[in-house]
């Protein structure tokens, strides 16, 4: 409604200016990413000879290739970029991200249900700790946890990083889930209890299905967070060969192939495919999660 009212008020000239200015802003925002995408399909000689925008200006003369992608994924093992194997890093990122997304959702849903619908000693105390931990910088935890991990021989393992990500994601997950679960009407539970259900059946049969929107919002949030994370991956997997995730591999590539733009751009774009796909297909849930959880630090 707001839109229509304000649209009536603006003059046609003002409205044209609005569209032009917004188009310019959107194009400016897009240009850096476009440069990366175009460059990732060009030969190194072309990249160094002419700016990437020439491909858009003279599309007929563009000489594009998929070679760069073959090189960074290890399909083409010869030539520049030998030793870069993002194919492996993609698998590692998947192996880290899926459990590190599902495990915290499950544990947080349990905890949120407990906080919302059970009475037990220390309930308020523990919940205050959860809220306080929402903005705590991760840096505070890394050194002690890494030391314990080294002692327990889980530094450099998937298991180690799953639990680190799970714990670091929990405060936000519990907060989002608590807000949602505590707003489910009490009558639903009471009739279930009368029918003889206990907390476990209520949780699996009622709470999980009813909370799907909140679960989905947090899942997308946590997926993007873990997939894009550099700090936790560097600390807990970083120096171990074979388990490095995409972000760590990309950082290494910047150091080793700083001017091989054909490799850097193709590698960077590969790391963005999954998050962009998730983002564009599930934007609605992501926005909802952001609105609910923008207290996270």
């Amino acid at each position: 409604m707001t839109t229509q009212v304000t649209e009536h008020r603006s003059s046609p000239a003002a409205r044209t200016v609005l569209y032009v200015v917004l188009t310019i802003i959107a194009v400016v925002w897009l240009i850096p990413s476009l440069g990366l995408l175009v460059t990732s399909f060009r030969h190194l000689e072309d990249i160094n000879q002419t700016g990437w925008w020439n491909v858009l200006l003279h599309p007929g003369a563009a000489n594009l290739t998929l070679q760069n992608y073959a090189q960074v994924t290890g399909i083409d093992k010869a030539g520049a970029g030998a030793g870069v194997d993002l194919g492996n890093a993609i698998l590692n990122s998947i192996a880290v991200t899926i459990p590190a997304t599902v495990i915290p959702i499950f544990i947080a849903a349990l905890a949120a249900y407990g906080f919302a619908w059970m009475k037990f000693p220390g309930r308020a105390f523990f919940f205050i700790i959860v809220i306080a931990l929402l903005v705590v910088p991760l840096q505070i935890a890394l050194i002690p946890v890494l030391r314990l991990y080294i002692k327990a021989h889980v530094a450099g393992t998937f298991v180690g990083i799953w639990f680190a990500h799970t714990a670091f994601g929990l405060p936000l997950a519990i907060y989002i889930m608590y807000t949602y679960i505590s707003s489910i009407p009490r009558d639903i539970f009471e009739s279930a209890f009368v029918d003889g259900a206990n907390h476990f059946t209520i949780f699996t049969r009622l709470i999980i299905p009813l909370s799907i929107p909140a679960l989905a919002s947090f899942a997308i949030f946590q997926f993007l967070w873990v997939w894009n994370d550099l700090l936790v991956a560097l600390v807990f997997l970083g120096s171990t060969a074979g388990v490095q995730v995409l972000t760590v591999q990309l950082l290494n590539m910047v150091g080793a192939y700083g001017t091989d733009w054909q490799l850097l751009t193709a590698g960077a774009f590969i790391s963005m495919i999954f998050p962009l796909a998730v983002f564009f297909s599930l934007q609605r849930y992501f926005v909802r999660g952001l609105l609910a959880g923008s207290v996270k630090g």
């Binding site: 839109t3 009212v5 200015v21 917004l22 802003i25 959107a26 897009l30 240009i31 850096p32 990413s33 160094n48 998947i94 899926i98 459990p99 599902v102 499950f106 349990l110 905890a111 249900y113 407990g114 906080f115 309930r123 308020a124 700790i129 959860v130 306080a132 705590v136 840096q139 505070i140 890394l142 050194i143 002690p144 393992t157 298991v159 639990f163 799970t166 714990a167 670091f168 929990l170 206990n198 907390h199 476990f200 993007l224 894009n228 550099l230 560097l234 990309l250 950082l251 910047v254 733009w261 850097l264 590698g267 960077a268 790391s271 998050p275 962009l276 934007q283 952001l290 207290v295 630090g297």
Partner: protein, 348 residues
């Protein structure tokens, strides 16, 4: 009765050993890892649920909360609460973590030239990065709201998109924007190409302080404007129409309505968005590490922490920096707690 848990625990142990020292093909390991991690968590819950459900109702009431809240409390205690205390302790010890040095690490963290540079840069990041992200977010949200729906959605999607990618990826995008070739060579970075077209000599942007810090802040603004825009856009749509109509009946023009009615109405959201970006900015380290490694005068607190711990092997100093970061966020923590207590009925 006993077989169930033994089988579950046995499978979990075998799975763990397989994952730790396996030479199987990567794809097999990844699939096993996902099944083990996800399935193991669910299996442990189902096991607990089955056993507790068999108990008498009065004991069930006592044990059920432990099963629901227990895992989260244990994880948070182990991964966040205990390490915070340990970090505080380590911050009073030297590089070997065995010799007590009093406040020496804090003196370093607050007075060393590399650290004062970090604090100065972080102040710039906080003021300019957060300021422009919120300002652009607000302006774009307000403008987009006045356009046709398909246009609004397209513009917002494009500006929101950088939120989805990693900061390492974003940094590579911008490394290419800022790319520099010596004069006489074709400029392939778009900033130098534009600069040269305007008649300037090519500049090695990232080596030139203090300009380089501003150029790194541009990346943050590029990422965070979308966040501010989405949240503020939702808030703008929540401003009641009759309030805006009342303004226009009273003869106010659009700008007056925006500043006198809309802005005060969404003030709470603006504060919330600003706080969130401030905290994000305080901890930003990926951009600096990827773009300059903290060199050429671009160091920031979060990267100084990383450099002290993992490059200089000074856990005492790194811990002191971490504690300072924690202290810097405590006002927000306090605000969240107060806010939450006001909101919820359940804990009164």
């Amino acid at each position: 009765m006993i077989a169930g848990p033994l089988i579950v625990i046995g499978v979990l142990v075998v799975g763990f050993i397989f994952l730790k020292d396996s030479s199987a093909p990567k794809l097999v390991i990844v699939v096993v890892a996902i099944i083990w991690g996800v399935g193991g968590t669910v299996a442990l819950y189902l096991l607990a649920a089955t056993y507790v459900s068999k108990l008498r109702l009065s004991s069930q009431r006592k044990i059920a909360p432990v099963i629901f809240v227990g895992p989260a409390v244990v994880l948070l205690g182990f991964f966040l609460v205990y390490p915070t205390i340990e970090t505080l302790y380590l911050s009073f010890f030297d590089a070997t973590s065995s010799k007590f040095v009093g406040l020496k690490n804090y003196v370093f963290a607050l007075t060393d030239p590399s650290m004062t540079e970090s604090f100065r840069n972080n102040a710039l990041w906080l003021v300019l990065g957060t300021g422009f992200a919120v300002l652009f977010g607000l302006i774009i949200a307000a403008m987009a709201e006045r356009t046709k729906r398909w246009f609004e959605l397209t513009v917002k999607s494009l500006i929101f998109m950088p939120m989805a990618i990693s900061m390492v990826g974003a940094s590579i995008i911008w490394l290419f924007v800022y790319a520099y070739r010596p004069p006489g060579n074709p400029q392939i970075g778009i900033l130098n190409a534009v600069w040269a077209a305007l008649g300037g000599e090519p500049v090695a942007w990232l080596l030139k302080g203090p300009l380089n810090t501003l150029l790194l802040i541009v990346i943050l603004v590029w990422i965070q404007t979308g966040f501010a825009m989405i949240i503020l856009s939702a808030a703008l749509k929540g401003v009641p129409t009759d309030l805006l109509d009342a303004g226009s009946i009273d003869g106010a023009n659009e700008l007056q309505i925006f500043f006198r009615i809309t802005i005060p109405y969404i003030r709470g959201t603006i504060i919330m968005v600003t706080t969130t970006i401030v905290i994000f900015t305080l901890k930003v380290f990926d951009i600096v590490l990827t773009m300059t490694g903290g060199n050429y005068g671009t160091q920031v607190i979060a990267n100084a922490y990383y450099a002290q711990e993992f490059q200089s092997f000074q856990p005492g100093r790194a811990s002191a920096i971490a504690i300072i970061l924690l202290i810097l966020v405590t006002p927000v923590m306090w605000y969240n707690l107060r806010n939450f207590r006001g909101q919820t009925e359940a804990f009164k």
